[in-house]
Symmetry: C2
Subunit: 156 residues, 2 copies
């Protein structure tokens, strides 16, 4: 009985260790950066479609994936310990993102709203409407970057 208990505790401890390992701050930083990077590919595709030959399906796919990333619950990737470079993960996040909950909530809600609206508009194939809504999404991105991200030179 004691052995079984000890074994159970061992399995539990191993499980917790595994969960903690999967939640290392540097991993969280890399996961969130991957989300933004993948969104950047897709905002770039929408921009290219708006400026060149417009492919309804490509824009719809791109808008869908941006909305899905926006809705994925990325807030969880801003856990304690992810506010500065750790391991081989760097971050552009400003300290304010971890303290200004009200402000962060506002930009996050605005971003989700515009991303979901863009997915809806993109499904209609109306390039003019997509252009207007895409502009709103970009503004939502910029609003968050302005307050909570240290921008690199020549990035925009």
């Amino acid at each position: 009985m004691k052995k079984t208990m000890l074994a159970a505790i061992g399995v539990l401890a191993a499980g917790i260790a595994l969960a903690q390992q999967a939640q290392k701050p540097e991993d969280l930083i890399k996961f969130r950066q991957a989300g933004y990077k993948f969104m950047a590919w897709n905002t770039g595709r929408i921009k290219a479609n708006l400026e060149g030959s417009y492919n309804k399906d490509e824009v719809a796919k791109a808008a869908n994936v941006i909305a899905a990333v926006a809705n994925s619950g990325m807030g969880a990737l801003y856990a304690p310990g992810t506010d500065k470079a750790v391991g081989n993960a760097h971050t552009h996040v400003k300290p304010e993102l971890f303290t200004d909950k009200e402000g962060v909530g506002k930009v996050a809600v605005a971003f989700n709203k515009e991303a979901n609206e863009l997915a809806k508009v993109a499904a209609t194939g109306d390039a003019g409407a997509v252009k207007v809504q895409f502009g709103k999404l970009v503004e939502a991105c910029k609003a968050c970057h302005k307050d909570y991200r240290v921008e690199e030179k020549n990035e925009h």
Copy 2:
């Protein structure tokens, strides 16, 4: 008139240069890696939910974003010039991915099918069915890795 033409050509050339710059092979490699990395966060979340406390909404969000990435048309990110390390982008891709069109088509279609099915099943909140379908998705990932990816030690 000549000046206007020259100016127009200049703008066009700048536009093309910009488009080409946005499509640099190293950028394409980084974009596709971001897609897989973000999917990895989400497969990890689903796994954690199946092994621990099951949160229907979190699993649905994770499955949705995996499906959206799968449907995003990532094939375009395997353009010529992205078959080996370039600039500061490394890649695990095997040369066969660029030559075995039929085989790649099969694993890609299978992956999309399982990802879309997982999103559907996750929406029902049936943890048992999610477990079965998640297993199928993981097999689809592995099938592609086996043939077309140089796996790192200790990665799985």
